[in-house]
Amino acid sequence: MISTLGGFVLFLALGVTLYAAAAAVLGARAGREDWLASSRNAVLAHFCLVTLAIFLLEYALITSDFSLRYVANTSTRGSLTRYKIAGLWGSLEGSILLWEWLQALFAALVVARYSDRGPSGCRQLMPYVQAVLQGISAFFLLLMTFGANPFAPLFPVPPDGRGLNPLLEVTDMLIHPLLLYLGYVGFSVPFAFAMAALVTGHVSEEWLTITRRWTVVAWLFLTGGIFYGGWWSYRTLGWGGYWAWDPVENASFMPWLTGTAFIHSVMIQERKRMLRVWNLVLITLTFSLVIFGTFLTRSGILGSVHAFADGPVGVMFLAFLALVLFFSFGLVAYRSDALKGHGELDSIVSRESAFLLNNLVLVGICFTVFLGTIFPLLAEAIRGTKISVGTPYFNRVSVPLGLALLLLMGIGPLIAWGRASLNNLQRNFLKPSLAALAGGAILVALGVRQAEVLAAFVFCLFVIGTIVFEFLVGTRTRAKTTGEGLLTAFATLLLKSRRRYGGLIVHLGVVVAIVGIAVSSVYKVEREQTLQPGESMQVGPYSVRFDGMAAGERPTHILVWANLMAFKDGQPLHTLTPGQRYYPNQQSPFASVDARYHWNEDLYVILSAFERDGSSATFKVMINPMISWIWIGGGVILLGVIVAVLPERRLALLALRAKAQVA
């Protein structure tokens, strides 16, 4: 029943979305306002239909209707309701439906926002924006109709479902994929505007101005998704790390890199009307990489922990990827004459150059990740040998590039537009450089010898120095010229150039995260030892005593855990209970790690093996210094983006209120 209904709703949505796309294009060609209006209504109707489909699937999930194959695969009767709900994105078919729903939502938001208002030039673009967004939706609906139907029936109806992969049964799983999908879908909006600009030939700066905020928000979601994914991995996967350069992680990292490059290079186009082709290429690459990444994870062509099942889905994704690439790069080629910019530069020593280099390095890292990800395939095709390209490779190649990027992060925001005079360079960079070098010297004196760590610290110090310096000088100058108090001056400064200072705060967050990454990976301490009850093991300043094993039943699994007591310098510090979870439907147990999380150092314990009678157990104990700085950095980035994109009016209101309080 629900199967037929759901299938019908999706089919109807496909019809409506195709109609919306056709009506938009034909209406724009024929100049028929009524067709355009009808297309807009169809976009909204399409959103309603997909929403209905989501409700149907959620209803089936919550009521454990195992007559749907998807429900049987992703939940059991005993699952907690929130995991039943999250079953929507626990497996292939449902995650495509969720993606399509977000796609429909964003299309509806765009239509609602820009159909009758919006900046000049928007009117000509909108029909084609709708057509592109609906085209993307049509692909996902086709995928569900012919390859991955979330409403596929199951007969005979089983008494109970198989359930989610236990790794996914954590609260984070409710959030992490949602953030990623919001990021992915978000980038389709600037992409659609870029394509519309190319189709209509209105290739000047309008599409950029309109989509700037969409891009930044999409970037925020993607960044949040990546950080959250690392956090989830660290706390639940049970190997003590947060990033393994797995194809799936790379799949989210690549569009992030090109998206970051895009956010920076549009600033040059807005200001100088150059790099038009480059920006179109960047947004096209970003969107293509989103599809490419999804293709990688859904096709199963690369072995990956996260890979979903294979089937016709992979082929359909590849076909769509080819279509997107040919269509968009074909358009760029077709419009290349109109796109000819007339770049002019006062001097090679300028912010423009710093941005060009920033783009070069970001795209270079993206190329490296892409190459490393598909190189095993290339090696197999040409040499016929299976090889691996993993963490040591990616770290080795991307660290020098990352350091270059870090340095540019200090230079870019402060070097003058146009031409940086010696005066400008001296004023902005002399003190931060001296501070950085002094810091480097102190670290060398303290015995830090690894060149990469030193470089990372010195560059981080330099970047933070420039940012702090910029805030200090700006605040002081403002306070002096306007006579405001320092705090007020700081707040108004922040509000007056939100985009600039928001950006600097984002940079600050990135630096904090980089410090966390550098320290935690280089100074990580790890020991593995088998203990009998009462015995202790020594790891750095910590000593961990094994007090025996215990076991208990949990709603969905059996938990076996070890009782440990951690001491630091002889003082009792914390009890730790690392364990293993046994699920009825899974062959091997899942680790349940425990850790003492602390702002500058985590003590992280994994129970790697134990004797059934509790006579001994093997523990892997890690000291992960400053790993929480990565998550703190993520938080600072979030803060910075919020400062940068918060709507004008709300901020003005806040400022007024603040002023009233001060007065």
Partner: protein, 174 residues
């Protein structure tokens, strides 16, 4: 649009072709470098029967099977076939050797009793033999000819047809 401009979108073609090639490969099938190489020697404490060393079997065709009692269902599917092959060909000089990996002895003995194993089986403490044979998981089976060379490696449960063909191949060689 001139032909030069058409090159821009066409630059994507090699990538698409490479990705399409990916559908023809199986990321899980990794060829073993040991095939056609001399089989690594090993000594193993056989359950209830002293010690067994591969060197002493020189001149005999050998089937080495890696299994575990926790490996369900694949190991359970192929176990009867291993035993019947051993009974059928032992008079022609065929040896079947079972290496039980990462197992509890009690469970392993239960498994052997269940399938009435009469060929030599033994544990692999520290997974030394498994790693020496490049074993990924269980079950995996190696066919070794009279010269002590590995002729074939099979991953997953054996089928009667495959077993028969590979055993005939190592029996024939001299």
């Amino acid at each position: 649009m001139s032909w030069k401009k058409a090159l821009i979108p066409l630059a994507c073609v090699p990538v698409i072709i490479l990705l399409a090639y990916g559908f023809r490969t199986d990321p899980k099938a990794i060829p073993s470098p040991l095939v056609r190489q001399p089989a690594p020697g090993f000594r193993m404490a056989v359950y209830d029967a002293g010690e067994l060393s591969l060197e002493t079997l020189k001149g005999k065709p050998v089937v080495v099977n890696f299994w575990a009692s926790w490996c369900y269902p694949a190991c359970y599917e192929e176990a009867p076939l291993l035993e019947s092959t051993w009974r059928k060909y032992k008079d022609q000089g065929l040896m079947v050797v079972g290496v039980d990996i990462q197992d509890k002895e009690a469970n392993a003995r239960e498994f052997m009793r269940r399938f009435d194993f009469t060929f030599p089986n033994g544990p692999d403490p520290g997974s030394k033999i498994s790693i020496d044979y490049g074993v990924y998981g269980v079950p995996e089976t190696f066919f070794i000819d009279r010269q002590g060379r590995i002729t074939y490696k099979h991953v997953g449960a054996l089928t009667p047809a495959l077993m028969e063909a590979q055993v005939q191949a190592i029996l024939k060689g001299n």
